[in-house]
């Protein structure tokens, strides 16, 4: 069995990257949120946030809707069903790894093969 530390490296990087994880976590707790809210909640600059959202949208995890409220542009984000499933699975995996890590002992690790 791989050590839990090794399994951390196999986590989905699209989800696990800290800024994107914060975005997905926040969106999982609501129906949708606008750009300003996500920017204030994550502390990212406009450019950084836009870039992360583009990656999440390309990965099919987030749906971005642009519209006008009166004359004011408004961009809102919502998780897709795949996004909701992905973030839920991700936190469950993190919890499993946390439990495995607390039980792991160095002697459980198989010795490295010598060349």
């Amino acid at each position: 069995m791989a050590a839990p530390f090794e399994e951390l490296a196999s986590l989905d990087k699209l989800v696990h990257e800290p800024a994107r994880l914060a975005i997905l976590t926040a969106l999982s707790a609501c129906d949708s949120a606008d750009f300003l809210f996500l920017q204030r909640l994550t502390g990212l600059s406009k450019g950084n946030l836009s870039s992360h959202l583009a990656k999440l949208e390309a990965g099919g995890l987030v749906q971005v809707t642009k519209r006008f409220i009166g004359k004011t542009p408004n961009t809102s984000m919502a998780l897709t069903p795949a996004g909701r499933a992905a973030i839920q699975a991700h936190w469950q995996r993190i919890e499993q790894l946390r439990t495995q890590t607390s039980r792991w002992r160095p002697e459980d690790q198989p010795p490295p093969e010598h060349a």
Binding site: L27, A29, C30, G43
Partner: protein
């Protein structure tokens, strides 16, 4: 990255954490409780001045809604939170009606009614805190104020007020005053939770692409 539980709490309860909306109406309620000392029948809404104070308080509270939208953005809550809130309100109303029926039927002190109501509301607040991963301080302050005033009255510790009663001899409605002050204090506390969560994200600066 910020604590995920805190992120979820702020995102799911964002509209409820806009506490400054509650401050002007709370101040109006408290002012009206004090004005009731001089009003006919010591009522909290019997004079034009009291009506004006309440109207100004409500309008001033509503004026904070665009402030939050401009400053912190907008969140549409998940349908399950609306369902849960409606269910919690229904449970509280049902408990309240039954409890007041008991208080009136058995002619128990009115302050005991308030203690029971405050305790029931406090229970719902704590259940919500467990579900959403954070305590809504406005609601917690309401519960504490209502329960506290009821207990003080039962113990005969309210000045110029017979034991078990909620209005003083001079006409001050203690429960109204406490509830109004709870709106003010609780509203400010919820606003601070929101601001501090957003501010800590600004300090952390997020991560580069």
């Amino acid at each position: 990255m910020q604590d995920p539980q805190r992120l979820r709490f702020v995102a799911s309860r964002f509209n409820h954490l806009q506490g400054l909306v509650a401050v002007p109406p709370g101040a109006a309620l408290a002012i009206n409780a004090l004005l009731a000392i001089r009003s006919p029948g010591h009522s909290v809404l019997s004079t034009p001045l009291q009506a004006l104070v309440l109207a100004v308080g409500l309008l001033a509270g509503l004026a904070f809604i665009p402030y939050y939208r401009r400053t912190f953005g907008q969140v549409h809550p998940a349908p399950w939170t609306r369902t849960r809130d409606a269910r919690a309100a229904g449970i509280f109303i049902a408990i309240g009606l039954v409890w007041f029926g008991v208080v009136i039927g058995f002619q128990l002190p009115e302050s005991l009614g308030l203690v029971g109501l405050g305790a029931a509301f406090g229970g719902i607040v704590l259940a919500n805190a467990k579900r959403y991963g954070g305590l809504q301080l406005l609601w917690a302050t309401w519960a504490a104020a209502i329960t506290g005033i009821g207990l003080l009255s039962l113990l005969g510790l309210l000045p110029d007020t017979p034991t078990g009663k909620l209005s003083s001899q001079s006409g001050l409605n203690w429960s109204q005053l406490a509830w109004g002050l709870a709106w003010v204090v609780g509203g400010i506390l919820d606003h601070l939770v929101l601001v501090r969560t957003m501010r800590s994200a600004q300090v952390a600066g997020g991560s580069a692409v």
